[in-house]
Symmetry: C2
Subunit: 397 residues, 2 copies
């Protein structure tokens, strides 16, 4: 029976090895430098795992912070230590790429609550010697950004030339611009919004329930008890993955084509190509991601509502900002539709900010920000060139 397929994801959770001892640069913040969380508690000690690319210039003016999305990590432009696959944004970041590591010093940190070396629920709780699990405090996008600011302090970088990211990464970009306007010269929020919609919260809640319904989740104590809620997490990933694509993209990629045959099997095997594809997405995700991290990061996205922190008026989040913004959306993105980006643009306009806005025509859905989209690359390249000139960076060759 088809039931077997999701059980192919076996073995102990892959990412937990990275949680405490990542194959990355790491900065550890001791008891003297606690992280104050929105939940009203302090996290201490904690650590941030990060990668850098390129060279910081003498004036420390060419730093670009990349903020990753829900299931991304700090491995933007290098081979991933767990999966062996290329970095998740190698089309965008690298020598000669739109975010050109020959010109910019690129930093990407694993977000707070994730599982690739920055402190999160899979990390060891120093008080117990066991993984944090659900004792880890619930965190917010603002907490992630606070932690990143501490990393920049550690690196001696006052001002970022740019901060860029898509989806949950774009939320962090907006939070950066709101929390630390003086530290952000240019901001690129891509395929994102200033709040999570009711529909998006709903999809996240289904994913969380899928994880928590798995008996191997054990109330979040699976790492201690030696179980692994792989099936629940795989189901969560399958459902989420549909929202990252568009109906048109799914139709173009798979249509109603049958898998390895021309007729239905009259069974519950993966008859259609789209079924096999989704099952594969679920199984491979489980190998590289921690189930509790999935709960915490989706929760952080759900809580994100930038306007709420500014009296319900989004423009107030950006009042008086000197930051230059480039807001980008995609026509077929139904998770963060253009209307969400437009709301950000309207708020920036109302705040008198410098903002350019591009809606890119594509049928690739939300995931377009990760894919080969020449128009996206051209816009990012052009925006950074203009901002670089204003910043007094040397021109590109």
């Amino acid at each position: 029976m088809a039931e077997a397929d999701l059980t192919l994801a076996r073995g102990r959770p892959g990412p937990t090895r990275e949680a405490d001892n990542p194959r990355s640069l790491v900065v550890r913040f001791g008891p003297d430098r606690p992280l104050k969380l929105d939940a009203g508690v302090e996290l201490s000690p904690f650590q941030i795992a990060y990668q850098t690319y390129g060279t910081l210039d003498a004036n420390r003016t060419n730093a670009v912070l990349i903020c990753h999305a829900l299931t991304g990590d700090q491995h933007v432009a290098n081979v991933h230590p767990v999966t062996g696959k290329p970095g998740w944004w190698e089309t965008m970041v690298g020598p000669g790429k739109p975010i050109d590591t020959n010109r910019y010093f690129v930093i990407c940190a694993n977000v707070l609550g994730a599982c690739m070396g920055t402190t999160g629920p899979a990390s060891t709780n120093p008080r117990t010697g066991e993984p944090w699990g659900l004792d880890f405090p619930v965190i917010t996008i603002r907490d992630m950004v606070r932690a990143q600011a501490m990393l920049l302090d550690h690196l001696g970088i006052d001002t970022l030339f740019a901060v860029a990211g898509g989806s949950m990464g774009g939320m962090q970009v907006l939070q950066w611009a709101a929390s630390y306007p003086e530290r952000v010269f240019a901001a690129l929020p891509i395929a994102t919004g200033a709040r999570h919609s009711a529909q998006n919260i709903a999809f996240h809640e289904v994913g969380r329930q899928a994880v928590m319904a798995d008996p191997e989740w054990r109330g979040g104590r699976y790492l201690v008890e030696g179980t692994n809620p792989r099936r629940g997490l795989a189901v969560a990933r399958m459902g989420a993955h549909i929202t990252y694509l568009s109906d048109a993209a799914l139709h173009r990629k798979f249509g109603r084509r049958f898998q390895d045959r021309s007729n239905p099997t009259f069974s519950f095997d993966a008859d259609f190509e789209v079924e096999s594809y989704l099952r594969h997405q679920g199984i491979t995700f489980v190998e590289r991601f921690d189930a509790n991290s999935y709960l915490y990061l989706t929760r952080a996205m759900d809580y994100f509502d930038l306007a709420a922190d500014y009296g319900g008026v989004l423009a107030n989040a950006f009042r008086g900002t000197e930051t230059r913004f480039c807001v980008i959306s995609f026509t077929s993105d139904w998770l963060f539709p253009t209307s969400e980006s437009r709301a950000v643009v309207h708020a920036l306009n109302a705040a008198g900010a410098r903002v350019s806005f591009a809606e890119i025509v594509t049928d690739k859905g939300h995931d377009a920000f990760l894919l080969d989209e020449p128009e996206l690359f051209a816009i990012v390249r052009g925006f950074l060139a203009g901002a670089g000139k204003a910043r007094g960076l040397p021109p590109a060759d």
Copy 2:
């Protein structure tokens, strides 16, 4: 912890009591009248549970068949025997309603593969004395319609004045018109399509995987083993339910409002109203539906591709038809968007069929066909009045 919530759905599966001995009218087809299935096997014996409303006229010309959707059943316009709630289409069907039981003899049968008394995986397999489970053959929309035609033969009804239904019910309407054009005077396919899209197959596959990932599913043998995959089925229902609504409807109903408080709890409890709503949808569904039926019926929808049975040309499914069609879609339905209805209308036009088409403006999403939509009621009432006149039925009072 919030983990507890989905476990509120307890006890043995509610609908299994109805599977063999439903509180409905029942017709049993013995070994002399097997049902030939698309899977290449014969189902025999089998039974159909159905409800009727109103009175068949002397000429047997006023029969209206209602086809129910995935999670519907035969209890269109009476109190449901399991849930105690009103029938699922009481706004549409009843005395003086658009499908007026003072004028029409309304029939609705539980579909093949379901769990409210028509033979399905929860029914007893006469060869083993145990529930069919996954030994039940995989069925198609065409099989459902074949079974309904046998019911009409049993009732002595040659020709339906009308056949109507939404979603999976609409698929059956289209199949009726294609398979038995001489038996259908008027057809009302609502919020449906002539095939299931790749995105819809993908959502169904996630739901099936959620069910099959539940260890209590036991390879489909949960009724025999005394378990109940309630958590998996609840997760499946939660995910599906999002697709029945629109982003706008969710926003209007719930927005980002917190449940019973004004601030986040910084936990994984149901913080947002939309989360509580979805959990409730999941829990109540489990009380009235069989998990294996959910697998079989979603599979039947996925397999539906009417054009494929007619050389890939949808118009050929309707060539020479005398049936009058009224096709209805809803602007905010993203599960069966208007483009799917329009494809049906184009095919009917190409086949030279009588067809009227209405796209109703609403933000209620796919579920609009079940809700209080005055424009829908007016269109159905008007279409049936016109068809009734053509059919020679007495005019409405």
